[in-house]
């Protein structure tokens, strides 16, 4: 296995590439973004809805568990893509990136289906606090996954067009950092929103 040297943009004080440092700072900031969204959800958890469905009325835990599994599996394929990139294996890298994007799309598709179902069961953003906080929190996450999918597909496209830099592993690693972060956030959201019972009736 030819060890590929991590090309650094230019010499830096810490030795870390600027982009990687920036990505970590961005993710730190994102932690607070989701922290605030999750806090709002938790604060309003179990607030007796005056109207509209409760979590127990609408959640289909086995269904969402499957889509959560799909998303987590995409972290594995992301790692495989990075590994292929580090071996300069462009074909497998593109294959795994596409697989990761596909898994992400299945997840987002599942979320769209879930939202549609809930909506038909009467859960709208304005019917009660559960609807408000649920859609805004999971919706923000869904948007993040979608952005990640776009970045993955862009990597594949740029690779096919020969537009990736010589050290292709570096942009793959950066997108990977973001992708893993979005996955980890979903573990928290899935646990807090779906798995921990609200304690109210139902």
């Amino acid at each position: 296995m030819a060890a590929v040297e991590h090309a650094v943009e230019h010499e830096t004080t810490t030795g870390l590439p600027n982009t990687k440092l920036a990505m970590w700072l961005f993710l730190a900031s994102e932690c607070l973004l989701f922290g605030a969204l999750i806090s709002a959800y938790v604060l309003y958890r179990g607030a007796d809805p005056l109207d509209g469905p409760t979590p127990a009325d609408v959640f289909d835990i086995p269904y969402t568990s499957v889509s959560a599994f799909v998303l987590l599996a995409s972290s594995l394929t992301m790692v495989l893509a990075l590994s292929a990139a580090q071996r300069d294996d462009a074909v497998r890298m593109r294959l795994w990136l596409l697989t990761t994007a596909m898994l992400g799309m299945i997840f987002v598709g599942g979320q769209v289906y879930e939202f549609t179902t809930f909506y038909n069961e009467g859960l709208t953003v304005d019917v009660n606090l559960f609807g408000t906080t649920f859609y805004v929190l999971t919706g923000f996450h869904g948007v993040h996954v979608t952005v990640g999918i776009l970045m993955l597909l862009s990597l594949v496209g740029m690779s096919l067009a020969g537009r990736l830099p010589a050290d292709a592993a570096f942009p793959v690693e950066m997108v990977g950092l973001y992708w893993h972060f979005v996955d980890i956030v979903w573990i928290v959201i899935f646990t807090v929103v779906y798995l921990i019972p609200t304690g109210t009736a139902g």
Partner: protein
């Protein structure tokens, strides 16, 4: 601005811009110095607009029951005054100093991400213009700069939607800029510049960037919630559906208090940088000043509820936040004592920047002390929502912040523009501003104690508030005169031929003065190697055998005067200008209008931004040699 080089073909947006002079070059520049100047100009323009709003407010309050403006207009005026001064003046003016100075102070050629830097500026400017377009589209924001729910969620005019969207857009600018500058300071220091050789202004800048990174996401979420409540009738802050308006207050101030330090730490940095130059002594306890800055940054996240004593959080919460608020006064006080000790025994030279700095310290101490009064809960109950609070934060932000900004402007003007501002006019401006400022905001302490309520658009004569209000109004117009003197000073100075008698007019200490004034596009012909804090000072002075400080004879120090402006820097590859940051930025306000008016406009804005980002990603940061 004589030559304008506009691309000839419509397809010009696909071609790499190359112009480095002329009007067009400003739209495509990625040079941190040009971006810094643009930040400064834009922020100053917003300062004038916000100042006009303040003058209208003071005209309305010049006597009892006047009707210069009506209540609704008054609400819009004081809201826009606050939003403008905080988000469109103080923050971007600080960004102007950071952008211009940080790379020079750490010996870098540019910031870490030059195009992201341009993007930040354009997003800020367009976000500000977006916010101001509300005046013509149904009314400006009218719920105070803190936008308390449910007033902000239920107000029927479109203003608070513009507030939410406008601050979201400018927030993107600040967040991008914060990541960029933090990476720059951490990662792009010149050889030998360890963290404790970093100039103090850059240090305070680093703390500010971290505060932004961690506080902006919180206000982002809160603003989205406010926007969704208004636009799509979600229930976040609607008590009739179980929502809690106090949640808005918590989220707002969780951002809002770190924001206070985001506003003042740049001023602390400027003060700490200028004071030693005119005291002819190193900054007393540099490391203490650094650590107290970091401590302020940390504790700043733990004091937010002192804005909410009267919201009914209960005695335990109020006590806890009272204590943490009293604690944060300690590192702030440490800085004040460090500054005093820096001046003590120094060879003080009261040039104009020094006047502003000393003025800033004194005004800030007054504001700081009334701040400590507010930390005491029972005392705050008497003062909250009165003019006493208005007096307090103007002493801190205007007295501390704006005076420091003027100190910085006068001090670094020769560095940036290669011309000295008139010392005489700067001093005249200082004294007018000092008198005007105290005449405006000093009486507000009295008015607050008399019980004059904030944000009320008039007052009856029987309350006996007329005299001090009249004084405040006179004072505010004096401040306006002082600002006009500054503008006159700038105009006169910029008409003079370029050139400095001395490239180092203040006998300064930090690294940015080792290069020419103004610096070449590549900043340093050769990246300096740093051996000490106050590097430039140590290149100019040594101690003789008796321990006295003596000047190094000219030419004796090998790297004292590194080829000022002489080198062409032709071998240095600088990032090339680019259209894409501007394109990506234009999409954001379009998306903002889309949220208010039409999904199609929203989609169009998103498309523009995505196209901009792809163009950006696919273009190399340094263009191939033609």
């Amino acid at each position: 601005m004589a030559s304008v080089s506009v691309p000839r073909t419509a397809a010009g947006i696909l071609r790499r811009p190359t112009a480095t002079t002329g009007v067009w070059s400003w739209f495509t520049t990625v040079d941190h110095k040009k971006i810094g100047i643009m930040y400064g100009v834009a922020a100053f323009a917003f300062f004038l607009i916000g100042g006009l709003e303040a003058l209208l407010i003071r005209a309305q309050l010049a006597g009892p029951e006047l009707s210069v403006v009506n209540a609704d207009q008054y609400n819009q005026l004081f809201t826009m005054h606050g939003v403008t001064m905080i988000f469109l003046f103080v923050m971007p003016m600080a960004a102007a100093f950071f952008n211009y100075l940080i790379p020079l102070q750490i010996g870098a050629r540019d910031v870490a991400f030059p195009r992201l830097n341009a993007f930040s500026f354009w997003v800020f400017l367009l976000g500000g213009l977006f916010l101001y377009s509300s005046w013509f589209l149904g009314g400006a924001p009218n719920g105070g700069w803190f936008g308390y729910a449910p007033n902000s969620t239920t107000d029927p005019s479109v203003g608070m939607s513009f507030y939410a969207l406008g601050l979201l857009i400018t927030g993107i600018a600040s967040a991008a800029s914060a990541v960029n500058l933090a990476v720059t300071v951490i990662n792009m220091r010149a050889p030998g510049m360890s963290l404790f050789r970093v100039p103090i202004f850059t240090w305070m800048g680093l703390v500010v960037q971290f505060l932004l990174v961690f506080s902006l996401p919180i206000i982002t979420v809160a603003l989205f919630q406010l926007l969704f409540d208004r636009r799509w009738d979600t229930a976040f802050f609607d008590p009739t559906r179980g929502g809690d308006p106090i949640l808005w207050q918590h989220m707002f101030w969780l951002f809002g208090h770190p924001e206070v330090y985001i506003l003042i730490l740049p001023a602390f940095g400027i003060i700490s940088e200028i004071l030693p130059v005119f005291s002819r002594k190193p900054l007393f306890g540099y490391q203490f000043v650094v650590f107290s800055g970091i401590a302020i940054g940390f504790i700043g996240f733990g004091v937010w509820a002192h804005h909410m004593y009267a919201a009914g959080l209960g005695p335990v919460a109020n006590t806890a936040f009272g204590i943490s608020t009293a604690i944060i006064a300690v590192p702030t006080g440490v800085k004040i004592f460090n500054w005093m000790a820096t001046m003590y025994g120094g060879d003080l030279r009261f040039r104009s920047p020094m006047l502003y700095v000393v003025g800033a310290i004194m005004m800030f101490v007054i504001g700081g002390l009334s701040g400590v009064m507010h930390s005491v809960v029972p005392s705050d109950y008497q003062q909250t929502d009165t003019y006493f609070i208005v007096a307090h934060f103007h002493y801190v932000i205007f007295g501390g912040g704006v005076f420091a900004f003027f100190a910085g402007l006068v001090f670094w003007w020769p560095k940036v523009f290669g011309r000295m501002l008139s010392e005489r006019l700067a001093k005249i401006q200082f004294w007018i501003m000092l008198v005007g400022f105290n005449l405006t905001f000093g009486p507000m302490h009295v008015l607050g104690m008399q019980g004059m309520i904030r944000r009320s658009f008039t007052y009856p004569e029987a309350l006996g508030l007329t005299f001090w209000n009249q004084m405040a109004t006179v004072g505010s117009y004096l401040i306006a005169v002082a600002v006009l003197v500054f503008i006159a000073n700038v105009v006169i100075t910029q008409r003079k031929p370029k050139g400095l008698d001395d490239e180092d007019p203040w006998d300064a200490r930090s690294l940015e003065w080792t290069t020419s004034s103004p610096p070449p596009e590549h900043n340093f012909d050769e990246i300096p190697t740093v051996h000490a804090l106050d590097e430039f000072w140590h290149r100019k002075y040594v101690e003789d055998e008796r321990g006295r400080v003596v000047r190094v004879p000219a030419g004796a120090a090998p790297d004292h005067d590194p080829a000022r402006g002489g080198g062409s820097g032709h071998a240095i590859h600088l990032p090339s200008p680019s259209f894409w940051p501007l394109v990506a930025a234009i999409g954001l306000p379009v998306m903002g209008y889309g949220v208010l008016y039409s999904w199609w406009v929203l989609a169009l804005g998103a498309l523009v931004t995505v196209v901009g980002l792809y163009g950006w990603a696919l273009e190399p940061s340094v263009a191939e040699e033609a």
